[in-house]
């Protein structure tokens, strides 16, 4: 716990100092890493912890991007537009969660598989609001400068990680993981699994909502294809699996690794990049189900440290 806080503080300090040390291209790469961390933590909150896989989280990113862009054009300041985008995405998640999470089993995953497409179709067809396939170009004068966007996304990523840390240490987090391990048993011991699942899902939607708005301000142009992006769904899944689902640092690590892979392959071969992610997904699920962070934990520890930790947790000596 204490070491998590120390690591968090160190990373945060580095990230705060970064704009002074790097050029603007490097800064925009870092900005995207931070955005991916926020998205990965969002997916981690619902899918990493409960095991209910969301294949459609990009829809909240898209809704956030459009909300943010339209409000900015209407004269709302960028931070208020971002907050509104987060709220709208959250509000949208509620009916979706109510419909699909009351049931156990694969229905949630199946329903979410098409949700992003519904969002994209809506943005394309509702021309009066979204200007359809032409997309929305934001006036540069309205946009926050790159550094402001960077710090806003840093705040979001930090908030997301802090939030996941708080959930992991809470009774709610235990309940969510109990759902993943054995939903029937969790129900038997009095966990309100339906409420927990819906709560986690709705809470997880605010992060991509805000991230979408901030992305729109950073990119200054959005269209249905660029924000209701199927590849984003894939990336969210891979980041969390690769890093370690249901853990605090797994998604952070996964997002960083993914951005590394993306820098190497995305620009030249987008299809190859995605095919690689598919391979990675299968390999991780089959051979490293707890992600890269589990590699460290598997190392045998000196006996003294184990019992120390046991005492700390109030457990018996092994």
């Amino acid at each position: 716990m204490r070491s998590d806080l120390a690591l968090g503080a160190l990373l945060l300090a580095l990230a705060i100092l970064a704009p002074a040390l790097v050029n603007s291209y490097q800064l925009s790469v870092l900005l995207q890493v931070l955005m991916m961390i926020a998205l990965a933590q969002s997916w981690n909150l619902i899918s990493g912890m409960t095991g209910y896989v969301s294949f459609g989280h990009a829809v909240f990113f898209g809704v956030g991007a459009y909300t943010g862009a339209l409000l900015l054009l209407a004269g709302v300041p960028w931070w208020a537009a971002t907050a509104a985008a987060a709220l709208l995405a959250t509000a949208l998640a509620l009916p979706v969660g109510l419909l699909t999470l009351r049931l156990r089993g694969p229905y949630f995953a199946i329903a979410l598989l098409g949700l992003n497409e519904v969002g994209r179709m809506t943005a394309t067809l509702w021309v009066g609001l979204t200007q359809g396939g032409d997309g929305i170009a934001l006036t540069p004068a309205l946009l926050p400068p790159l550094r402001t966007s960077y710090y806003a996304l840093l705040g979001l990523a930090a908030l997301a990680t802090l939030g996941v840390g708080a959930v992991l240490g809470s009774r709610f987090g235990l309940e969510l993981r109990a759902i993943r391990e054995d939903e029937g048993a969790a129900e038997m011991v009095g966990v309100n699994t339906t409420r927990d699942k819906i709560l986690a899902f709705v809470a997880s939607a605010c992060l991509p909502g805000a991230a979408g708005a901030l992305y729109a301000f950073y990119a200054s142009y959005i269209d249905p294809m660029s924000v209701f992006l199927p590849a984003l769904n894939i990336q969210m899944v891979v980041m969390v699996l690769l890093g370690g689902r249901g853990t605090l640092w797994g998604p952070v690590l996964g997002a960083t690794l993914l951005m590394g892979i993306r820098e190497l392959t995305w620009a030249q071969f987008p299809a190859l990049h995605l095919a690689l992610l598919g391979v990675l997904m299968i390999l991780v699920v089959l051979f490293l189900p707890d992600g890269v962070v589990s590699l460290r934990r598997k190392r045998p520890r000196p006996a003294g440290r184990v019992s120390e930790e046991c005492r700390e947790r109030g457990g018996a000596e092994p």
């Binding site: 329903a111 699996l241 598919g278 699920v285």
Partner: protein
Amino acid sequence: MDLLQPGVLFQLAVGGLLAGALYALLACGLNLVFGVMRVINLAHAELMMIGAFIAWLAWRYAGLHPLLALPLAMLLLYGLGLVLQRLLIERIVEREELTSLLVTYGLSIILVNLGLLVFSADFRAVPTLQGAFYLEGLDLVISKPRAVAGAVSVVLTLAVYAFLRYSRTGKAIRGVSEHPEVAMICGIDVARIRGITFGLAAAMAGAAGVMLSTIYSFSPDTGADFILKCFAVMIIGGMGNFLGALLGGLLLGLAEALVGGVLSTQWAEAVAYLLLVLIVRPTGLLGQADAL
């Protein structure tokens, strides 16, 4: 032309049922795999796309008629299905549901993107069947490719149903579906049966792909539209229920055609999604309450 005239509605309904037969063929395979090993194969529609591309390659480079490419595609996909089952699915059958969703999702991503790398995102078609039948007595026009695709789909679906019902292997498949442990005790090689099941489902998907290639233009990522429809069909008919999926497929085709004719084709695309929300009755029309 008044769209609500009985004659026009009849015309739409027949067209819809023919399209629905294709959904049924595809969804029955998906349902079969789910019934036997509780694996939801998110790459099922990509197996269909492989079938469509086999038909296209056979037609383009060997001049083979799609109906002749049909057995070839089914055979190749049966083999591919066996290999995939051995390499991937068998490893995850006993594991939690999340695992099979993620592995088959990964597989679908790989297949789509390899398809895009090899064939690009261009749309293709196999326009070998053309023209239409005119049934004078009924005042009905049916396009030839749709009629053939619909008929082949229905025949294949019923053939697989008969195979499951009457053949020894089919009975073993149903046995494993009902209770794997008991089936094992009765001397059924469960892993082998799972392999045959997955191969059979892949062959059905391949056949659906060949038929699809004769009526639609397609690209490597066309499968995404179909997998959702498949799930809608599965949920309408009841998960794991073979005949339910046949009925569900026909119903979806019918609903899409009527909505498309009366409202617009864009709404028709939304029908499947609206039906998916029928999740409020998750057991479907013919499904067992304890199917999951």
